[in-house]
Amino acid sequence: MAKRRLRIALAGNANVGKSVIFNQLTGLNQIVGNWPGKTVERAEGPLHFKGYKIRVIDLPGIYSLSAFSMEEIVSRDYIAVEKPDVIINVVDASALERNLYFTFQLLELEAPVIIDLNQVDFAAKKGIRIDAEKLSEALGVPIVPTVAITGSGMNEMLSMVIAVISGEKKLKPLKVRYGKEIEKRVETLEKLVSSKLPQLCMVYPARWVAVKLLERDVDVAGKVKNYEKGKEVLDRAEKLAAELEKIHGEPSPVVIASERYALANEIAKEVTIVEAPPRIGLEQKLDAMTTHKILGYPILIMVVASMFVLIFIGGNFVSAGLEFLFENLLLYVEGVLSSFLPEIAVELINKGVLAGVVAGITIALPYIVPFYIILALLEDSGYLPRAAFLMDNLMHKIGLHGKAFIPLMLGYGCNVPACIGCRIMETERERFLAGFVVVLIPCAARTVIILGLVGRFIGLHAALALYAFDLVLVFILGRIAFKVLPGEPVGLIMEMPPYKKPSIRNILMKTWSRTKDFIYIALPIIVFGGVTIEALALSGFMDYIIEVASPLINGWLGLPAVTGIPLIFGILRKELALVLLGNVLLQQGMVLQDLTAIQMIVFSLVTMIYIPCIATIATCAREFRWRKALAIAVIDIALALFLGGLAYRLLSLVT
């Protein structure tokens, strides 16, 4: 049989096990976005099955195909414009009604749909069985029951994909029909659309365009406007939608959504067999405990605290070992290179390129990897939405909602994934607002400085005071940004998926793909930055910078002028700043302890606030564009210097 190339897309709600299925299908060779189910980027991976070469595309987890979020627009445009060969609609058997709402919209897009009825085991636990055959009859598309976490049903599903492709299995998809009043208007508009906008109908089904226009979909209206006769169609749609609203007394999208849900309810009822009353299992008890008014908070604190203890203890251990290994390796490489290269080149390669690579590895492996593992564990088990639930009220104070707690917490590990994590916020304004406060959260590297300098030489109370100050700062700045940025705050509407036993395989796969992503973004930038700064130092330009910066560093901040060097290098890797601080002081015949308590606090405070490392800035630029990333950097530098100088003066007064 000749090899054939196929494209299949996975589509469905969030929390239905879509990313697990994607991992099962594609294994380790994926090109992937970060928060599965929560990113705009699409994850893609290859798959070979029965002589077919298949590209699997994982669309974001969404609840609808309206223009609510970028994720929804990206998904529907991909389905309509790129027309994948098959769409596997992953449906949660334990929440059929809500999932069918989405399925109907796929059917309205006239996409070739196969339904993966997932989590049938979980549904059984809830005492529910779905009659797959009946459901298949009702929808006119094939249905394959699966338990993705164990891989059960995957082969059958792929065989079904092939059967549909080869024409062995015919699709007779259900035509989603509405009540008389809506249907009449949809049909009128559909006729108008297909006669006036033939080009648009080559891409999108006329009926779908008609329904979307009746729903007052801004994105589709924008597309229609581009056509010569678009205005005529839009005017008509507006009139029809207004009529609908007059009849039902509700906004037209609500009217249409209600009808879709009514149909979903009808079909779900028909095919659902309630076999046993739901058992009150461990999941419900866990749920009650972790969202409890009082008990919930100590649990949240314990979870977060043990996460960091694990990361730091484990990370320090591995990091020390790796550093020892690489130090010797670097010495060896230096020896080899010196034999045939001039000294300057050796320095540049060693301290610039290699040190950067080593830095990336010694921090990425020991701190980021365990961090990602624990994060995946919290995600897959379903704890994160509970944490968001508990923190919603507090987050509202800075104009965000509970979900923002998740990237904020990630920030304590590393700002890079935290910035990417801001994508879970719904609107662009919310994302930027979250990103703005996230970079102020002291990451693991900054914690190393705070603990290693202030904590070690002044005492833990001083270090904790710095953290507390940081939280206050986050709160104040968040509030200011929230007032200054235009736009309305968005309230929390979030699904609380039931607790589930996470799969080790899925956790490891997630960790791997995220680590890979981190290395791709961070490493080149760290290396490039390392070479640049090393070149500045070698050319003697650094001394000049230090001299120019001296009034600022020495005069304003009250620090020895040489500390400008670790502050500048800190842009690359903040925990490097502490080592460097020791080195430059040593050149002056001093040790860390020779700094006064005030100097230690000022140095730590400045490193805590001034721009997060270069990798974070690059990530911010990727997420929010360069202009906003630079704005963040400039604000943070100015703030750090201002507060540093202020602290120096105030503390000098007190002591």
Binding site: V254, N393, H396
Partner: protein, 84 residues
């Protein structure tokens, strides 16, 4: 409309039938898409701490709604133990 109250006035365990939602176009639409359409039954599972969010069950799914969002959803209570 008589007997229509905000979702926030329901206590834990109480059930209401959605009458309508009040708010911006985007919010009302989003709520409908998440299943909170007029006529559907919602059960308050949990009232969040410190004037916090609501956890509700609708169409077999648990949702968290911020307090502000929940206060914009109006329901007809099915069972009210007292008129408080």
């Amino acid at each position: 409309m008589k007997d229509v109250v905000s979702l926030t006035s329901l206590r834990e365990g109480e059930i209401g039938v959605v009458a309508h939602a009040v708010g911006g176009f985007g919010l009302v639409r989003r709520l409908a898409e998440m299943g909170l359409t007029p006529g559907v039954k919602v059960k308050v599972l949990r009232r969040g701490p410190f004037h916090g969010p609501f956890q509700i069950e609708v169409r077999g799914v648990a949702l968290a709604l911020g307090r502000g969002v929940a206060s914009r959803v109006f329901v007809r209570p099915l069972r009210m133990e007292s008129s408080g």
